[in-house]
Symmetry: C2
Subunit: 408 residues, 2 copies
């Protein structure tokens, strides 16, 4: 099996990939372990907030009608309300009578019959009498029941990446457990006779450290459950055995290496023999030899062996796949807008993944491509601040244009 003759456009590859991203299941976790997880239910408010009408300012609870016509040079006078001596502490509070007021602090329930709060500075209290220097309208300085959140409102949406404050919100509304997405089990295989595991041995065997599996594991660790399944040599049978064992234990597989031009493409053959190869070769640079297939309904990505190409393919195809698979409804990557400080060349007919540096001055970000002598070097990624995707129908981006930059 060779790379398919024609490269397919990125948007087509992405649509195929997303079509095969089956949603992972749901599990319940204690609210305090949910930060960083993806919510798998709508969280509905079970009570109003505020739970009652309450003062939004320190001042005096009044009937707004009683303040009509008040002015600094013509203050009106109200009398401090004193509860009837006979009333029980627990009984329904009586209604504020006309012409009276009750001092009130922010957050306290509005007394029955009052409908506004006169701010401290617009009144002067002495001997249970209040001089009012300014009229208030009904509802003034009152936070109404349900004004912030109404009972039945959705306060946190399905698909949200849960943050610290969300954990507090869950606790405050009595949710001790919450439904989140399980982390998909993603198997990672590296192929190539030239590889050695940099963790296990200094350099025995191969000549090149297998960095890809470690990069992939780190790229996915917040959203999925990556499992490094080892290094497989360039050998059809060994690769087939590895894939078969991986398929049994994982929801999806990422294989890196083995699909570059000029190298015999065992992985393509194995996928085609065990299942179906849906595409192999995407019009992206770097990352062109990326492929995708299905074995036993499980998706398998064939990623390039060069680390930078692999990262490009991951960002353009695997990350959207993982987001859909985990029901994430917000972007995982940080994005900013930036002004192009130096023209970014690009060829029509392919989508470019451009590593960029970001500068900030005078309230604006400026972006320029990183100068590198080849696509292979990993330090071109580590020394960059992020990347820009240049769509295939665009021939470079001119200086001065505002574009989206994805930050690492």
């Amino acid at each position: 099996m060779k790379l398919f003759r024609t490269l397919i456009p990125l948007r087509e590859a992405r649509s195929i990939v997303l079509r095969h991203a089956r949603r992972v299941g749901v599990e319940e976790v204690s609210f305090d372990l949910a930060a960083g997880r993806i919510l798998a239910e709508d969280i509905v408010a079970e009570m109003d907030s505020p739970p009652f009408n309450r003062a939004a300012m320190d001042g005096y609870a009044v009937k707004a009608e009683d303040t009509l016509g008040a002015a600094p040079d013509k203050p009106l006078v109200l009398h401090r309300h004193e509860p009837c001596s006979g009333s029980e502490p627990e009984s329904e509070p009586e209604e504020l009578p006309e012409g009276e007021y009750i001092p009130i602090q922010t957050g306290m329930p509005m007394p029955r019959g009052s409908n506004a709060v006169l701010m401290l500075e617009y009144g002067k209290e002495r001997d249970s009498k209040l001089e009012v220097f300014k009229p208030v309208t009904p509802g003034k300085n009152v936070a109404f029941k349900g004004e912030d959140v109404k009972r039945g409102d959705i306060v946190l949406n399905d698909g949200r990446l849960l943050r610290a404050a969300d954990i507090g919100l869950l606790a405050s509304i009595g949710r001790r457990h919450v439904k989140v997405r399980k982390k998909g089990a993603i198997g990672i295989l590296s192929t190539g006779d030239e590889l050695y595991d940099p963790k296990v041995d200094g350099s025995s065997g191969g000549a090149i450290a297998d960095v890809n599996s470690y990069i992939l594991a780190a790229l996915m660790s917040t959203i999925a459950k990556p499992s490094r399944m080892g290094i497989v040599s360039d050998n059809y049978d060994a690769l087939k055995a590895a894939i078969v064992s991986c398929i049994a234990n994982c929801d999806a597989i990422l294989v890196s290496g083995g699909s570059s031009v000029g190298k015999r493409d065992f992985i393509g053959d194995v996928v085609a023999d065990l299942g179906e190869m849906l595409f192999h070769g995407v019009a992206i640079r770097p990352g062109e030899p990326t492929g995708f297939g299905i074995i036993d309904e499980k998706p398998i990505f064939c990623l390039p062996g060069y680390p930078v190409s692999m990262i490009a393919a991951f960002e353009m195809l695997v990350r959207p796949f993982l987001e859909t698979m985990h029901g994430l409804k917000e972007a995982m990557m940080r994005q900013v807008f930036a002004v192009v400080a130096k023209k970014m060349p690009s060829a029509v007919g392919r989508t470019d993944f451009v590593r960029v540096r970001l500068d900030e001055h005078d309230g604006e970000y400026y972006v320029e491509p990183i100068r590198v002598s080849g696509s292979g070097i990993l330090s071109s990624v580590t020394s960059s601040d992020g990347f820009v995707i240049i769509e295939e129908n665009i021939e470079g981006i001119e200086e001065g244009k505002r574009i989206v930059v994805n930050l690492w």
Copy 2:
């Protein structure tokens, strides 16, 4: 002990806090466990990259001088170099003679004596002869030894938050272990008779769920090692005992609650008795009753009890403290610039922490404050996209201005 009479400005509070942020120690971890950790050494390249001069394009390695004067209508002809039949495979390769070329692929070492790569499209090869249609200058399409990274260059700086690609870079240069900052042990105490632990019991005891300790733990979990040390009642002796035990086991302590106006401030008394209170009351809103002291050289933050005020104080004072304590030399928070879509009111004389919503259209972010009826409600944080800090000498921010927005 009462709040200090005058509130100190945020910048003064921050400078006191940072002065007491003692750097945590260093530990060595395996490179594959270092993602998300803070690097505590400079990583120096031990070899050049590229390690030799190599082709940056597919084409033909030539002597640039041999192509002088070539043109589409007047091609020059070079001869394919054939190695001497007698040369051993391992011996020093011979020098490319004048008038000859060698086909070469991207990444391959430049043959001795060649100094440029003629791109495929500018030559036509047939029967070991190459027609050259365009001259190349010396160095053209060559990636020079050390061009990307020179031996001795720092490739990753001390204080960097390590990312996925960094892990690959460490592996590729043979670093199996790397020095990172230890995670500081931060004790978390909640004070208040009204509190119950929402994880432990439904609602027994207090009337209000202690959400603060869970929020603080989640806010810090990526950078530090938070330990929830429980709920302490509003009682001088109980609080003193809790602080003493906490101090023994932690690098710093965060206490929430107990320092609001109108409540007896036991925590201020305890800190003053055991050590020294350095400030108590900061000109920020919300978050005003925030205090800071030192006991046995260990920093102790007294944070407000209202969750939103506590989060504001955390972002304005505790986060910078943790960054300094862990030697982090880049911002933890994501920031974007945005245009103010709706005036943000603010009073001169205090720093405002404004929860905001962010919208995006036509390549620009727009920001507006969230409307809330009081500062206390946690959903004003969860429904916001981030916050804006309005400095104390500024009286609101007008529509149309570009400002920095911190995103959750």
